[in-house]
């Protein structure tokens, strides 16, 4: 009888405990901006619409961040629509970023992470991208620049007056995460 009670007790207690080992992070706010260079223009397209989630288990954290392509605003609706077309944003509406971190990395102020980015129907890997970490009260701020290029995603570089934009389109990332 005592064994049965113990088994029942364990079955009720153990799953919640194992679940408690997982820790989740939610993206609270973000600013993502891409920079485009052209001899006649320097353009920044900004989005605050990213959503993200991180799940930590056994000291290992998996993060997923996604942002709709059409939410990037460069201040010119015509240019934004052209960007949407050039990046095949109607067919592939989201940019997604996946990365893994060890929980010990959160104690650092500078980290290097590998990123897998899906954009425009293509997948690109970026190794050892530098980010700065700022721990705040119950929050974690991450900022850095992803050295993206147009050719990484097989995008035909848009042109103005027959002059194409530069291949480099660095993406500045500024995100605030909070544990759930």
């Amino acid at each position: 009888m005592n064994k049965r009670i113990l088994a029942l007790f364990l079955s009720l207690i153990v799953p919640p405990l194992s679940h408690a080992a997982e820790k989740e992070w939610l993206l609270e706010e973000s600013t993502l901006s891409y920079h485009v260079s052209h001899p006649l223009h320097q353009i920044d397209g900004v989005s605050h619409a990213a959503r993200g989630k991180g799940v930590c288990d056994a000291g290992q954290c998996d993060f997923l961040i996604a942002v709709p392509v059409k939410t990037f605003d460069s201040g010119d609706s015509n240019r934004d629509l052209h960007m949407l077309q050039a990046t095949r944003g109607a067919q592939f509406p989201l940019v997604t970023v996946r990365t893994k971190l060890t929980e010990t990395a959160f104690a650092s102020t500078a980290i290097h992470v590998d990123l897998e980015i899906q954009f425009a129907g293509q997948t690109a890997q970026y190794k050892q991208v530098a980010f700065q970490l700022t721990g705040q009260k119950d929050k974690m701020r991450i900022s850095g620049i992803v050295p993206a290029t147009v050719s990484d995603f097989k995008i035909d570089p848009p042109s103005l007056l027959s002059i194409a934009i530069k291949n480099e389109i660095p993406v500045r990332v500024d995100m605030t995460w909070r544990p759930q």
Partner: protein
Amino acid sequence: MAKFSPLGFAVDTQSADEESLYPGAVLLAQVQGNPPNATKPPATNPSEPTLGDLGFPTAQTQGSAQDQARLDRRSHMLKIHQRLGLITTIPLAATLITSSLAASRSSTATGRDVHATLGTITAGMYLTTAYYAIFAPKIAGTPTRGPIRLHKALAFIHGPGMILTPILGAMAFDQKNAGEKVHGIASAHGAVAAVTGIAYGLAILSVSVHF
């Protein structure tokens, strides 16, 4: 490795290693319209976040080949609009330069013919240029913002100007060939042409130079 897709574009297939690292990518690929790969192994880390966890509305995650085709057509037409608009500046400039051959005291019938011919070519090219902007597919729910507003506003000046200028020019041409001094509304031909030319030049600058 690029793989042919039935939608007519190349997609990168991921290696099995990458797939095990990023199992959520399978879901994403399916959501975004890539063909699912039946040989892909099942996810190895069930706790890894997926796109579904982020709570995006379905409309924001599902790709549409139809919408993409509409955007492609729009961009294609606007590229032609841009190219023809730039080419049109050549006969437009030539027409303005040859106006002295048609309007000065020493003007000749040949000079007027040259000016009229160039003006006709300019008007024809202008209308063709305008066609590609007017009939480019509109994208619903996209308010016009930025320098394109000035570009569109200037069309309300150079558009009527490009219609009025040849009409007034034809009237002036007839009067001059009849040995008369250009008079009446035809005498506004030069002024209307100048305003039209300036508005046209500003329209080009408004979308090509950062103010």
